[in-house]
C-alpha cells in the first residue's frame, strides 16, 4: 500500500473547491473581487469615518467590560487621591477606575473618545466631498439620505456616550439637553419627564443612555453603514470624468488585490493616527471635572466639537421669549430645536431641489469638478461658513479668554458673522469658480505657456504657447471644454522632465488625453493596473 502523495501547493485550490462545492461562493466572490474601484484620494474620506467606527466598536466593547452604568451613590475609594472619599455615582466611579485602575484603561478611553471625534469629522469631510462633486445626484439620492441619517445618529451616539461617565462637564450638557427638550411646546415637559423618568436628573438617564449608546444606536449605525456600502456596490462608485471614463463604466483598480490592500493599509493608518493621538494628547479628563453636582457649573463648559454648533446657535440667538395662549415659548427653542430641524431636512431634499431647478432627470455616474458648478459650490461653501461661525461661537468664551477679547464682542462678531459670512462666502466662491474655469478655457484656446520668449521681426516679444490639440487658422485650440483637468505645465505634457516628485502626489506624468484614441480607454502605466468594468447601460 502506497501512501498518497500530499501536495501542499494544491491545498488552497483543493480547499477552495471543497468550499465552493458546498457554498457556491465562487461566482459572487469572483464578481466582488473583480469589482473595480476608481482611485482618487478624496474617495478615501468616507473610509476615515468607516475605520473610526470600527475602532469605536472595538474600544467601546473593551470599555463595557469595566463600565457600570448606574447612578447609585457610592464613595470613591480608588487610586486617584484627590477624589478619594467623594460621593459620586457608580458610573463616574467606574469611569475613574477605567482611567486609573484598569490596565490600559485610560488609553482605551482616550482612543474611544478621539475615535469618536475623528468619526464625526470624517463623516462631515466625506459629506462635503460628496456634495461638491455632485455625487449625490441621481441615482445616488438615497445613499445621500442614508449618509445624512448616519451623520445625525453619530452625533447623538457621541452625545450619549459623552454623558455616560456622569462627570460635572457632561452633566452640565445633560442639564442643557433637558432644558432644550423642555422648550418644545406642549409636549416638551412630557417628553423630558418620560425620558429622564423623573425630575432632572433622576436616576434613570445614565442607564437609558447606556442602552441607547451601546446597543440601539450602534446597531442602527451598523445597519445603515451596511445599507450605505451595499448601495455603493450596487450603484457603483461615481468617478471623475477623464480619458476613457464614461457614464457607463468604472475605471480603476480591482478590489483584490490592489484596492483591498490599500483599504487595509488605510485602516491601519487610521488606527495609528488615533492611537498616537490617544497616547500623546489627553482627552476628557473627568477626574478634573469631578462628579456631577447640580451646583457645579464651570466656566468654559462645552460639548464635544460636533455638538458645538448647536451650543453656538444657542449663544448667538437673541433672548426672545414668546408668550401666547398661556404658554411660554423659551428662546432656546429656536436655535436648539428649529434650527437643527431645518439643518436635517434641507440637505436631505437638496438633491431633489437641484434636479428640479435644473430640470435634470438623467443618471450621473461621472462627477463634476466644483468649479464647473459654481452655484452649488458656492452654496456649499456658504453652508460651511454658516457652520463654522456656529462652531466657533460654541467656543466663544474660550476664544474671548485666550485672545483677551470681550465676550460680548465675540458674541456680536458671531451674530454679524452668521448673517454676513455666508453671503460673502457665496460671492467669493462663485467668483473663484468662474476664474478657475476661465483659466482652463484660456489654456485650451491659447495652449500651455512654455516659458520661451521669442522676438518677432518687428521687434515685439511674445511667449510661445504650446497648443494642446489641433488649432484653427488663428492658432487657437479647438478642444472643447470638457470639465476635466487641463494640463497647464509642459511637464504635464511630457515635454519636460517631471518637477513634482512628490510624496503625496504621484510623479508628474504626461496627462492621458483620449485624442486620437477614439475615446477608448488608455492603458496607463507599464503594468496596466487600471481596469475597466462595464456597467449595464441604464434604460
Amino acid at each position: 500500500m502506497r501512501k498518497r502523495k500530499f501536495d501542499l501547493n494544491a491545498l488552497p485550490a483543493a480547499a477552495g473547491n471543497e468550499i465552493d462545492d458546498r457554498l457556491h461562493a465562487a461566482t459572487p466572490l469572483r464578481k466582488l473581487m473583480n469589482k473595480v474601484f476608481p482611485d482618487h484620494w478624496s474617495f478615501l474620506l468616507g473610509e476615515v469615518a468607516l475605520w473610526s467606527f470600527v475602532i469605536l466598536l472595538l474600544t467601546g466593547t473593551f470599555l463595557t467590560l469595566f463600565f457600570d452604568p448606574s447612578m447609585e451613590e457610592t464613595v470613591y475609594n480608588g487610586s486617584y487621591t484627590p477624589l478619594r472619599g467623594v460621593s459620586m455615582s457608580r458610573a463616574f466611579a467606574s469611569s475613574l477606575d477605567i482611567s486609573f485602575d484598569v490596565r490600559g484603561g485610560l488609553f482605551m478611553r482616550q482612543m474611544h473618545h478621539w475615535a469618536a471625534l475623528l468619526f464625526v469629522a470624517g463623516i462631515i469631510v466625506h459629506m462635503f466631498r460628496t456634495f461638491f462633486t455632485g455625487a449625490f445626484r441621481k441615482p445616488r439620492e438615497l445613499n445621500w439620505i442614508v449618509g445624512l441619517l448616519l451623520f445625525w445618529i453619530a452625533i447623538f451616539e457621541g452625545l450619549f456616550g459623552y454623558s455616560l461617565p456622569d462627570d460635572a462637564l457632561s452633566g452640565t450638557g445633560l442639564r442643557i439637553m433637558n432644558a432644550i427638550v423642555l422648550s418644545i411646546p406642549v409636549i416638551g415637559s412630557w417628553i423630558a419627564f418620560a425620558g429622564f423618568g423623573s425630575e432632572f436628573p433622576g436616576t434613570e438617564i445614565i442607564p437609558r443612555f447606556y442602552t441607547l449608546h451601546i446597543l440601539l444606536l450602534p446597531a442602527l449605525l451598523v445597519g445603515l453603514v451596511t445599507v450605505h456600502l451595499v448601495l455603493l456596490l450596487l450603484q457603483k462608485h461615481a468617478q471623475w470624468p477623464g480619458p476613457g471614463r464614461t457614464n457607463y463604466n468604472v475605471v480603476g483598480e480591482r478590489m483584490v488585490p490592489r484596492y483591498a490592500s490599500k483599504m487595509g493599509a488605510f485602516f491601519l493608518i487610521n488606527f495609528a493616527v488615533i492611537a498616537i493621538m490617544s497616547g500623546l494628547f489627553q482627552i476628557n479628563p473627568i477626574w478634573i471635572f469631578g462628579p456631577y453636582k447640580a451646583a457645579v457649573v464651570s466656566a468654559g463648559s462645552q460639548p464635544d466639537w460636533y455638538v458645538m454648533f448647536l451650543d453656538g446657535s444657542a449663544r448667538l440667538f437673541p433672548a426672545w421669549e414668546i408668550r401666547a395662549f398661556g404658554y411660554t415659548l423659551p428662546p432656546i427653542f429656536w436655535p436648539a430645536v428649529v434650527l437643527p430641524g431645518i439643518l436635517t431636512v434641507l440637505p436631505m431634499i437638496y438633491p431633489f431641489i437641484e434636479a428640479r431647478r435644473l430640470k435634470d432627470r438623467r443618471v450621473h455616474n461621472l462627477l463634476q469638478r466644483p468649479r464647473d458648478v459654481p452655484n452649488r459650490t458656492a452654496l456649499g461653501v456658504m453652508a460651511i461658513a454658516f457652520y463654522v461661525v456656529l462652531v466657533l461661537s460654541g467656543g466663544n468664551d474660550i476664544i474671548a479668554d485666550q485672545f483677551s477679547i470681550s465676550l460680548n464682542a465675540t458674541t456680536w462678531a458671531g451674530r454679524i458673522g452668521l448673517l454676513l459670512g455666508p453671503p460673502i462666502a457665496y460671492w467669493v466662491t462663485y467668483r473663484i469658480c468662474l476664474g478657475l474655469q476661465q483659466h482652463d478655457r484660456e489654456v485650451l484656446v491659447h495652449g500651455v505657456e512654455t516659458g520661451i520668449i521669442r522676438r518677432l521681426p518687428d521687434g515685439r516679444f511674445m511667449e510661445v504657447h504650446q497648443p494642446l490639440g489641433p488649432t484653427d487658422e488663428h492658432g487657437h485650440g479647438q478642444l472643447e471644454y470638457a470639465g476635466w483637468a487641463v494640463p497647464k505645465k509642459m511637464n504635464r505634457l511630457g515635454a519636460l522632465v517631471p518637477t513634482v516628485k512628490g510624496f503625496f502626489f504621484p510623479v508628474e506624468r504626461p496627462s492621458r488625453t483620449p485624442i486620437g484614441n477614439g475615446g477608448r480607454p488608455v492603458s496607463t502605466g507599464p503594468q496596466g493596473q487600471r481596469e475597466l468594468e462595464e456597467a449595464e447601460r441604464p434604460r
Binding site: 484627590p82 471625534l117 500623546l280 489627553q282 476628557n284 457645579v296 464651570s298 467656543g395 465676550l407 504621484p506
Partner: protein
C-alpha cells in the same frame, strides 16, 4: 441744662432750646461711643501708628498716594479709598503686581511686581498692609502654613473649589471669560497667600469669600487642592492647555484630519 424748678414756668423758647441741647448731647454721646468702639471708621489726622505702619506709610506716600490719596482716603476718578480693605487686599494687589496700577483699563492685571526683589517685595507689601490695616482694619491673611493636612483634604478642597470657584476660574483653574471684557484670570502663578488673600478680599469682580462663607480651614483645603491641581501631571498625555472640548476639537482637525487626509493623498497616489 435746664433747671427743673417748679416755680418758673418753662417758656416755649426755653423748652425748645432744651430739646436742641439734649439732642446735641445725645449725638455727641453716640458719636463718642461709636468712635470708641469702632476706632477705624474715619481716619484721624494723626493716628497712632506702629513703627511698621509708619514705614508702610512712607512707602505709600511715595508710590500709592497719587491715586489713593492722603491717608488712603481715595482720589476721585483715580483710585478708591483703601480704608477698611485690610492688609489682605493690599498684600494681594501688591505681591501680584496689580498695584501700583500702571494705567487705567478694564481690569487691573497681574504683572511683574513693582519691587523685583522677592524679599523686598514681601517686606514692603507687609509694611503697606500693616499701614492700611492700622488705618481702617479689615481682613488679614493669617501667618504660617496655609495648606491643610489630613486624609480627605484634597477631596474636600476639590469639592469646595468646583462649587465656589470653577464657575469663573474653570475646572482647571485656568481662568475664564466674564461679560464685557472682564475675566477671571488663571491661577497658574498664584501663591498660597495670594489665593487666600484673593478669597478674603474679593478683588474687583470676584466675590468676597469671608470667613463665614468659607471657614479658614476650608480656605486652606481649597488652596491645597488648587496647588495640587497645578502640579499634578496629566496622566493622559499633553493636557491641551486643560481647556476642554474646544482644544480637543481643534486637535482632531489640526492633527487627526490633516494626518488622515495626507495619508489618503499618499496612498491614493501609490500605484
Amino acid at each position: 441744662m435746664s433747671t427743673r424748678s417748679g416755680r418758673v414756668p418753662r417758656g416755649r423758647a426755653r423748652r425748645r432750646v432744651g430739646t436742641v441741647v439734649r439732642l446735641i448731647a445725645a449725638l455727641i454721646l453716640a458719636g463718642g461711643l461709636y468712635a470708641a468702639f469702632a476706632p477705624g471708621v474715619y481716619a484721624e489726622e494723626d493716628p497712632q501708628l506702629s513703627q511698621a505702619a509708619k514705614d508702610g506709610k512712607a512707602i505709600f506716600d511715595n508710590t500709592c498716594v497719587s491715586c489713593h490719596g492722603r491717608n488712603a482716603q481715595g482720589v476721585t476718578d483715580r483710585g478708591p479709598s483703601l480704608i477698611g480693605v485690610g492688609s489682605a487686599s493690599v498684600e494681594f494687589q501688591v505681591t501680584s503686581g496689580r498695584m501700583p496700577l500702571a494705567r487705567q483699563e478694564a481690569q487691573a492685571e497681574r504683572k511683574p511686581p513693582y519691587w523685583s526683589d522677592p524679599e523686598e517685595l514681601d517686606q514692603n507689601a507687609r509694611l503697606l498692609g500693616q499701614y492700611i490695616q492700622e488705618l481702617g482694619g479689615g481682613p488679614q491673611v493669617p501667618d504660617g502654613n496655609l495648606r491643610a493636612e489630613g486624609g480627605n483634604t484634597l477631596a474636600r478642597g476639590g469639592e469646595l473649589f468646583r462649587v465656589n470657584c470653577s464657575s469663573c476660574h474653570a475646572f482647571s483653574a485656568g481662568g475664564g471669560a466674564l461679560s464685557s471684557g472682564k475675566f477671571a484670570p488663571s491661577m497658574a502663578a498664584a501663591t498660597d497667600r495670594q489665593i487666600y488673600a484673593a478669597m478674603l478680599s474679593g478683588p474687583q469682580n470676584m466675590p468676597v469669600f469671608g470667613d463665614n462663607q468659607l471657614t479658614p480651614d476650608e480656605k486652606r483645603e481649597i488652596i491645597t487642592y488648587i496647588q495640587n491641581l497645578k502640579e499634578d501631571k496629566d496622566p493622559g498625555g499633553w493636557g491641551l492647555g486643560r481647556i476642554g472640548p474646544v482644544t480637543e476639537g481643534l486637535a482632531i482637525f489640526v492633527v487627526g484630519v490633516v494626518a488622515v487626509v495626507f495619508a489618503a493623498l499618499w496612498i491614493a497616489g501609490k500605484s
